[in-house]
């Protein structure tokens, strides 16, 4: 479903609001983002099977190149031509008070263009204009009504849709919000029946979907808050559902201890997608700690068949310890986790089975050598299922007032793939900085990453050059916090 024409018209109307609404004011920001990425893609190449010595599916050329052989050919990946792209984004956010008490309009518009091959960046890079958010809100002390393109934040995460919502603030700190409209695919800002999905999935959703739900928030005591959400997505042209889920969250402040609980449940597969308990609390002498246990099973919408493959989840324990010196100049932290996957009930010969647990551990520190000069470092070790990595980052950052800094950053790490031959080593570094330009803020970085294969020829050139430059201009000041104006 295309909304481009009405969206453009509405957006232009919103842009005119500043002139109409100066009595009450507007705020927002304009952000121009320019980037440059240089990277090479991968190309599947092959040689005749008869020219490769050895037997079996997996073989190796004399130079170490791993091959996967069929009846006629042996295939391998090598680097393709270098691709370069310069994406260019302009975001404009405006939050306008109309002069009528309680009536507000908000929009987040985006225009984009690019030079080079946009395929290597994000989807929609060839989409010149879109409205990410565009709604009108009328709010009074005990209710709020919103209409337009908006985001809904619930225990299920963030969803955006074209529709309306009504939120009622009831006695005893009870909030009830009912919402519904045309569902937009998460992360895409498009309805389900879109070529962005059909271009990469032959069994794409044939219909758009209606999103509807209810979100209840309650706070019986100042220290206890919780929420419950029921949400469903229904195919627009039939009686099928794309999803039906519930979620519950709670946050309890027990003295210095903060407890968080989270539950997401898929009514279609009757599986718990997420159950999590977390606690964080301060300790003596500058220490603070947090811990978490969670069980996770992936969720798939019902326009796909993936839920029928009975995916299993994992259980994980996480912990983190932070410390900050009384002077505030030195801080350090460490965190780690252990994850174990549930039984898959698949009959895999012992020698071919893959790992079903993983570890993660990291530690880091930040030291303010001088008032405006900070040294920070981190080391991470991640022995994971599917992929592993270990390495660290080091940076020296010099601040020039609140809004300016210049940082020299370096990184070095090795990666290991469980399902592909060979390891990779990456060494990278560059400069990053920001400075104010009148009321605007300029941010930029130049980073280069050198990637080398380990245990195999460097047929794959994964080196990268990345440059970013952004200019952010506040509009109308930031009421209350940043001041501005007079």
């Amino acid at each position: 479903m295309s909304y481009r024409t009405p969206l453009v018209a509405l957006s232009l109307c919103i842009l005119l609001l500043p002139g109409l609404a100066t009595a009450q004011g507007i705020n927002g920001r304009a952000r121009t983002y320019l980037s440059h990425l240089q990277i090479r893609d991968m190309v599947l190449d092959s040689v005749p099977e008869g020219t490769v010595s050895g037997e079996g599916v997996q073989r190796t050329l004399p130079d170490g190149t791993p091959l996967t052989c069929g009846e006629e050919y042996c295939q391998y990946y090598r680097s393709g031509p270098e691709l370069g792209v310069i994406p260019f984004l302009v975001d404009l956010e405006l939050n306008a008070w109309t002069g009528i008490t309680g009536l507000r309009a908000y929009t987040h518009l985006r225009a984009r263009d690019h030079l080079g091959d946009f395929r290597v960046i994000w989807p929609k890079m060839n989409e010149p204009f879109e409205a990410l958010t565009l709604y009108v809100e009328y709010g009074r002390s005990f209710y709020r009504v919103k209409a337009g393109r908006q985001w809904q934040t619930t225990g299920l995460g963030m969803y955006n849709y074209d529709g309306g919502s009504v939120r009622m603030r009831l006695p005893h700190n009870l909030d009830v919000e009912v919402y519904g409209g045309l569902s937009l695919v998460r992360g895409l800002n498009e309805s389900h029946y879109t070529n962005l999905i059909s271009d990469v999935e032959s069994l794409f959703p044939r219909e758009d979907a209606w999103l509807g739900g209810i979100h209840v928030r309650f706070r019986p005591f100042p220290q206890v808050a919780g929420s419950f959400t029921y949400q469903r997505e229904e195919a627009a042209g039939s009686d099928g559902l794309y999803s039906e889920r519930i979620a519950a969250t709670t946050r309890i402040l027990a003295g210095p201890i903060t407890l968080d609980g989270e539950l997401k449940f898929d009514l279609a597969t009757r599986q718990t997608n997420l159950a999590k308990l977390a606690a964080s609390f301060p300790l003596d002498k500058g220490f603070s700690a947090s811990g978490e246990v969670r069980t996770y099973t992936p969720f798939f919408e019902l326009w796909t068949i993936w839920g029928a493959f009975s995916p299993v989840g994992f259980n994980e324990v996480r912990g983190r310890l932070d410390w900050i010196a009384p002077s505030g100049k030195l801080s350090a932290y460490t965190y780690g986790s252990h994850r174990s996957y549930e039984e898959t009930s698949t009959q895999i010969p012992g020698s071919l089975s893959i790992s079903d647990e993983s570890w993660r551990w990291a530690f880091g520190s930040r030291y303010s050598i001088l008032t405006d000069l900070t040294l920070s470092a981190e080391y991470r070790y991640d022995d994971g299922y599917g992929a592993s990595r270990h390495g660290g980052d080091l940076s020296v950052q010099r601040f020039f007032g609140r809004s300016s800094y210049l940082a020299l950053r370096g990184t070095a790490f090795q990666t290991f793939s469980e399902f592909r031959v060979g390891s990779g080593g990456v060494i990278g570094g560059g400069l990053q900085g920001a400075f104010p330009l009148a009321s605007a803020k300029v941010h930029g970085s130049v980073m280069y990453y050198q990637h080398d294969q380990i245990d195999r020829p460097s047929l794959l050139d994964l080196n990268q050059l990345r440059m970013n430059l952004s200019l952010e201009i506040p509009i109308g000041g930031d009421p209350g916090l940043r001041g501005g104006g007079n």
């Binding site: 500043p18 225009a111 962005l196 068949i305």
Partner: protein, 318 residues
């Protein structure tokens, strides 16, 4: 890019640059008046009074000097209350203007500025003497606080909040909208332009994060139109055949893949289409290998969407 699109882009860019300049307010040259007014309250006497009075002087105060003879005549009008989300009463905070307006110690009035959030948090953050139970105690929506990736620099929420803010956001404890504008959420959750969330080398290191679900990738990215599209464009083509040149680290990948798929199907679908798997796992074609595991609740799914079942069981999704 066609002409209309370029006009849209140009118009938006122009608006982005023009609107701030239109809205820029006047500034008062405090430095040149410093000699005449040693105390801030000489002009801003209303600050400690009824908030309705406002912080600005009467024009007659200015005109006493700026009468065209003693000083140049001027025109000035009280700008009135600023559009503000801050319900800040000065009276209970009567401990000297420079405490908040010149925290760096520079008492030159010309360098005074509006307080930064950290100034407030030095007293009102959690575990401080005057902690605020709710942000909305002072703030009405909407301001521009942002979450930082480095939790050690977040004086309010503390470390690791970025990875665990879901319950707080859903429960409203604290109420995010009291301090955060909507772009605080979308700057990360808008997965197609969240250039600030991941480190710049993330494309080389994201596989461990993705396999481990350190963050919920799908809360910002669509598996098909983000992950798969990029993987395919970069040459990582999923096929679903017996020969899997990409998975060249497994002796016989076809035998290992069931465990890998069950353990982390979310990663598989970042390259593979559904038809790749249906080459074997279909009830109506191919090798007819059932993908269902123990305890599979088919009726619960079919009650909600039969078309999904028909993909495999009748060869069409309707």
């Amino acid at each position: 890019m066609n002409r209309a699109s370029r006009w849209s882009l140009a118009g938006l860019a122009l608006a982005g640059f023009a609107v701030p300049s239109l809205l820029a307010g006047q500034t008062f040259p405090h430095n040149t008046h410093e000699a005449f007014f040693s105390e801030c309250t000489a002009c801003h006497s209303g600050v400690m009074a009824d908030p309705e009075t406002g912080p600005y002087p009467e024009f007659s105060t200015c005109a006493a000097c700026h009468d065209g003879q003693s000083g140049p005549a001027i025109e000035w009008q009280d700008p009135g209350s600023r559009a503000s989300s801050l319900a800040f009463p000065h009276a209970p905070h009567d401990f000297g203007c420079n405490t908040c307006h010149a925290p760096g110690g520079d008492e030159n009035p010309g360098s005074f500025s509006f307080p930064e959030p950290e100034t407030c948090l030095s007293c009102h953050a959690p575990q401080t003497e005057h902690q605020a139970a709710e942000c909305s105690f002072c703030h009405a929506p909407v301001t521009d606080f942002r979450l930082t990736r480095d939790g050690t620099q977040d004086p309010f929420h503390g470390a690791a909040f970025l990875n665990n803010h879901g319950p707080a956001a859903a429960s409203g404890q604290p109420d995010c909208a009291s301090c955060h504008a909507e772009n605080t959420c979308t700057q990360c959750h808008d997965g197609m332009a969240s250039s600030e969330f991941h480190p710049t080398n993330f494309v080389l290191s994201h596989s461990t994060e993705a396999f481990g679900r350190v963050s919920d990738c799908t809360s910002c990215h669509t598996s098909e139109a983000f992950c798969r599209e990029c993987h395919l464009n970069l040459g990582m083509e999923g096929g679903g055949g017996f020969v899997a040149p990409f998975h060249d680290n497994q002796a016989i990948w076809i035998l290992s893949h069931p465990q890998a798929a069950r353990q982390d199907l979310e990663s598989c679908v970042t390259c593979h289409q559904q038809n790749d798997c249906m080459r074997c796992h279909s009830a109506s074609a191919g090798m007819r290998v059932s993908p269902h595991g123990p305890g599979f609740r088919g009726s619960s799914i079919s009650d909600r969407n039969q078309a999904m079942c028909k993909f495999c069981h009748t060869g069409g999704g309707g």
